[in-house]
């Protein structure tokens, strides 16, 4: 049944309905955090937040504000559920997901509440696909207790500059070391792999550096396996902010523009690798 003739009566059954003229505006950003099978969906009147966690030390969140959607209706303050993200992405891309100009897949996402599946209506070229994805009770996302008042160091860079470094990262290094300092080397990424040590330096007066606020010298190491997935978000983004707090926790925030030029955010939180002492 075409999306447009969805009966009004059905709408009253759903606690959450969101529609998009271009399903890629959701699938692209979700792909940036799809490194695990399961994702926690939290919908509020402000929009949709999708969370993926790894080993209780890393968390990725994608934020898609209500304004991005053509329709966003929610009947409760918070609607939460957990779904298999891999399955969801296969469904969102059911018509192939190739970018052909002028052709897009429309999406209507509906949820009736606890115990019900997440229902997707996708339409492209007159063909309609209906997906019902089973949901689970959402786990409580970890609160990393990362707040601005505890931030010691912050930089905002144009993603272009980091993309090259991240794509070349020595994967034989178990950790990615991030040094941030008000003095040399300012902002440095380091790896320690089989072929030796590698450093990527970003001086504070570089063209790529949009903001530089470092108050004290900090060096922290993070498990490479936890941070490597963030490369996908980096690839989609135009700007990235890197912040560390007094505990050495890392926050990466990516500004992503979708197909229509609208802004969404992806953020990654990561705990420092405890085995290594900070310098």
């Amino acid at each position: 049944m075409p999306l447009s003739t969805q009966s009004q009566a059905d709408d009253e059954l759903y606690v959450f309905v969101a529609t998009l003229d271009n399903a890629r505006n959701l699938s692209n950003i979700l792909r940036a955090i799809a490194f695990k099978d399961h994702a926690i969906f939290s919908a509020t009147p402000n929009g949709l937040k999708v969370t993926v966690e790894d080993s209780k030390c890393m968390q990725a969140n994608a934020f898609i504000q209500a304004e991005i959607f053509q329709e966003f209706t929610i009947r409760e303050d918070l609607v939460g559920f957990q779904v298999n993200l891999t399955v969801l992405l296969d469904c969102l891309n059911i018509f192939g997901g190739t970018t052909v100009t002028g052709v897009s897949t429309t999406l209507r996402m509906c949820y009736r509440g606890y115990g019900y599946p997440l229902t997707l209506f996708l339409e492209e070229g007159g063909v309609v696909t209906v997906c019902k994805i089973n949901t689970q009770e959402p786990e409580e996302p970890i609160d990393f207790e990362f707040c601005s008042s505890n931030v010691t160091n912050k930089v905002i860079l144009q993603s272009e500059s980091l993309k090259e470094a991240f794509s070349e990262l020595d994967m034989t290094s178990e950790v990615l070391q991030i040094t941030m300092s008000p003095s040399q080397p300012y902002f440095r990424l380091s790896t320690f792999g089989n072929s030796g040590n590698a450093h990527y330096d970003y001086p504070k007066d570089s063209d790529m550096m949009e903001l530089f606020q470092c108050t004290k010298t900090q060096t922290n190491r993070y498990k490479m396996s936890l941070l490597k997935p963030s490369t996908k978000a980096l690839a989609l983004s135009c700007k990235v902010s890197v912040r560390t707090d007094i505990r050495g926790f890392l926050s990466l925030q990516y500004l992503v523009r979708n197909d229509d030029g609208q802004i969404c955010f992806v953020e990654y939180y990561c705990c420092p690798d405890e085995e290594v002492e900070e310098e």
Binding site: F95, P117, K132
Partner: protein
């Protein structure tokens, strides 16, 4: 037994190569039947290939400029060979810009289909390329396994949606399930469905149209009971078999249709100008 054919038209050569490449994507080995008027690529449904069977018919006159064959005997004027289509496809691909390509049955260390061509080079001397593609001769006593399949007593016949759209959807569904249900009715509606513990997905195709013979096919000529046009005939098939069929299609056919025997078989028919391809996928429980 003798066979020699020559293709000189470059479009015919391209088309012939594409047909063989399509066949090679559908099956690793198959039978090639050569008759005075036709070439048939045949796969008979055996447990080993999941019960899938295929019948591809080419009119020799649409491809070959010269075509001579002498079958096993004058009553059985045909040649039956077991071939690996990929080997033939590979050989043909290397001679795409030849002025003329000859294909003949030869005996080297074993029976072969030899593809021979003169290829132009930068100098005045041409380069001769010969490929010997080994084949097995199939003895006459086994020929009845490779007959043209009967049109099944189908419940619904319907035109297929654009193959590319079907392929995109089936490719994604394969990530989610091993089996897919194909259902269609006489109102031009077809659904592809999967249903697992994690997810159920249904793709609805509308306004596909039904071929004119699409009524209840009473082959005995008796009165056909009119079938409820909305009633769906369905068959549950191994998704990989359907995906394999869709992957192989390189050229848009002029007609593409599907006959469904309820809980029995999915019979896919593709008609091009000079080639017809039938593919049978058995239903599973």
């Amino acid at each position: 037994m003798k066979f020699r054919g020559k293709i000189i038209d470059i479009a015919c050569l391209n088309h012939f190569t594409r047909v063989i490449t399509t066949i090679s994507k559908l099956t690793k080995t198959c039978v090639l039947r050569l008759t005075p008027d036709h070439l048939y690529f045949v796969l008979s449904g055996k447990v080993a290939n999941g019960g899938v069977s295929m019948w591809c018919e080419l009119s020799q006159v649409n491809f070959f400029d010269e075509y001579q064959m002498e079958g096993v005997s004058s009553e059985d004027n045909e040649i039956c060979l077991e071939v690996t289509p990929e080997n033939l496809s590979r050989a043909l691909k290397t001679v795409q810009n030849a002025k003329a390509v000859k294909v003949k049955l030869t005996k080297k260390h074993c029976p072969c289909l030899t593809v021979a061509a003169e290829l132009p080079t930068l100098s005045s001397v041409s380069r001769v390329v010969t490929h010997d593609v080994p084949v097995d001769v199939i003895p006459r006593r086994l020929w009845n396994e490779f007959k043209e399949p009967d049109m099944p007593d189908f419940d619904v016949s319907i035109y297929l949606p654009p193959l590319k759209t079907m392929k995109n959807v089936v490719d994604r569904m394969k990530n989610l399930s091993n089996f897919l249900v194909m259902e269609a009715n006489l109102s031009g509606e077809m659904n592809l469905k999967i249903d697992t513990d994690l997810v159920s997905v249904t793709t609805h195709f509308r306004d596909l149209g039904n071929p004119p013979w699409g009524e209840d096919s009473s082959q005995d000529g008796g009165p056909s009971q009119s079938r409820d046009p909305e009633a769906m005939a369905e068959a549950r098939v191994d998704i990989r078999k359907l995906q394999q069929f869709l992957m192989g299609q390189q050229v848009n056919p002029s007609k593409a249709m599907c006959n469904i025997v309820h809980h029995g078989v999915v019979h896919l028919i593709l008609l091009h100008e000079d080639v017809s391809l039938q593919y049978f996928i058995p239903a599973v429980a």
